[in-house]
């Protein structure tokens, strides 16, 4: 039976666009749908990404979506001790702060130029299935219901992720593996314009507070709080407002935009594929559990998904067995690090402000030439043997 499309991608974020782009490049008829009226808006992101992340995903750097280039990052402990990581320490991990509304549109444009069709204000509301295989979607487009058939459906529907669950894939996240986030784009700040700042400890229970510069005296100022540490409804906004008020570098500023979001800090999904279905990006829970960063992993996963789907298109086979190549490729790239960082996060959220102070002080005195979990643990072993004990096998 002739389908309406070879591949339907649900969600036009970076992971969806990379998938659509690379699949369309190999000749597949791709439809990418986005339920919002604009790609790249509304913002739900702090917009930081490492240069390495962009390179790995094969995205050529483009000044039009780079908002600010960073010289490094500052890790600040609850007591104000500071670990400064510049290019000499963090190398290509040092990043840029994006203009997401431009970045997402640029990636969608790559997909469009490769031949993908895009529909806005178009949401998937369910999956069409036949003999256990996904064969399309039901949805609404500008309020009008539709049914479209396809050989494969891609769930690139982000944290909200419903496609996977409709298809029988378990994307459920525990309360202790999700964060509630709030952020303002602020201007008139007195923070450093070329260093990303991460503040640890009870200022943002179970998470961290951040300042990601957006050029001049403007920055994304936000925080994420671990779900299991939330006490009252609206804690994320309340804690952020409290922090901004208490910091003289921040309380002189004014907000330009407010952003709410939840971010998963979990291990990745156990299974990201089924017959005629695959998941990419946040929907597959590949956000880094330590940093909460998801753009680079999502893009890389989209690259793999698009390339494998291109091969599936040529072989006319989108079965789970054929999609195993995708499952293997993204896991080879990401899975170990996601699990390691998840374990590190589980430990980190148990630490007191005093211990975090000791950790940052200790690390600031060591000359760590290359940032890695391994090097950090090795540096901490002498001063904090108890802390490092659980991770002995990683040193």
């Amino acid at each position: 039976m002739k389908t309406d499309y070879d591949i339907i991608v649900v969600g036009a974020g970076p992971a969806g666009s990379l998938t659509a782009w690379h699949a369309a490049k190999k000749g597949a008829r791709v439809l990418m749908i986005e339920k919002r009226q604009e790609i790249g808006a509304q913002l739900r992101c702090a917009e930081g990404i490492s240069r390495k992340g962009l390179v790995k995903a094969g995205i050529p750097m483009d000044k039009r979506w780079v908002c600010a280039e960073m010289k490094g990052a500052r890790l600040v402990s609850p007591g104000g001790y500071e670990l400064k990581l510049d290019e000499s320490h963090a190398g290509s991990e040092v990043g840029v702060v994006l203009e997401r509304h431009r970045f997402d549109k640029a990636l969608a444009a790559y997909a469009a130029h490769a031949g993908a069709e895009i529909r806005l204000k178009t949401a998937a509301t369910g999956l069409l299935k036949q003999d256990g295989k996904v064969v399309g979607i039901t949805g609404t487009s500008f309020g009008e219901p539709f049914r479209l058939t396809a050989d494969c459906v891609v769930g690139a529907d982000g944290y909200e992720s419903q496609v996977g669950r409709w298809g029988g894939l378990d994307t459920t996240v525990k309360l202790s593996d999700m964060t509630s986030c709030f952020q303002y784009r602020m201007t008139g700040l007195k923070t450093e314009p070329d260093f990303c700042e991460f503040v640890l400890g009870s200022v943002a229970p179970g998470g961290y507070a951040w300042v990601f510069p957006k050029g001049d005296d403007t920055a994304n100022v936000g925080m994420g709080l671990l779900g299991s540490k939330l006490k009252h409804p609206g804690d994320a906004k309340m804690y952020l407002d409290k922090w901004i008020k208490s910091d003289p570098r921040l309380n002189c500023g004014q907000p330009l935009e407010a952003v709410g979001a939840a971010v998963s800090v979990s291990p990745p999904v156990e299974k990201a594929i089924a017959d005629g279905l695959l998941l990419v990006g946040d929907a597959a829970r590949v956000v880094d559990p330590i940093t909460g960063g998801g753009i680079a992993n999502g893009c890389l996963m989209g690259l793999h998904a698009g390339q494998v789907l291109g091969d599936c298109f040529q072989a006319k086979d989108y079965s789970e067995a054929a999609l195993q190549t995708y499952e293997k490729r993204w896991r080879d790239d990401l899975e170990n690090k996601l699990w390691t960082n998840w374990m590190a996060k589980e430990k980190l959220v148990t630490l007191s402000d005093e211990t975090l102070d000791t950790i940052i002080q200790t690390l600031a005195q060591c000359d760590i030439t290359e940032m890695s979990v391994h090097n950090l643990l090795a540096a901490l072993k002498e001063k904090l043997p108890e802390l490092v004990k659980d991770f002995e096998d990683m040193i």
Binding site: Q42, R165, W166, V173, L175, M178, G260, A261, A262
Partner: protein, 63 residues
């Protein structure tokens, strides 16, 4: 305040971010661009109430 299925949503607080939708263990919350709906699968676990960054969701009366 609008009552959508089991939960009440303060539409003036809601920022349509989808935090509730992705956090729901029942997949009962759906964000239609800027409007939330709760399906009958909702078991009133209250996770959406907790995770909402601005506290826009309130547990509704049991039906």
């Amino acid at each position: 305040m609008s009552e959508v299925g089991w939960m009440k949503v303060n539409v003036e607080k809601c920022m349509h971010c989808g935090a509730c939708a992705g956090s729901c263990p029942q997949n009962a919350v759906f964000l239609h661009e800027v409007m939330l709906t709760f399906s009958n699968a909702c078991n009133r676990c209250g996770r959406c109430v907790k995770i909402c960054p601005v506290g826009a969701i309130i547990m509704g009366a049991k039906k």
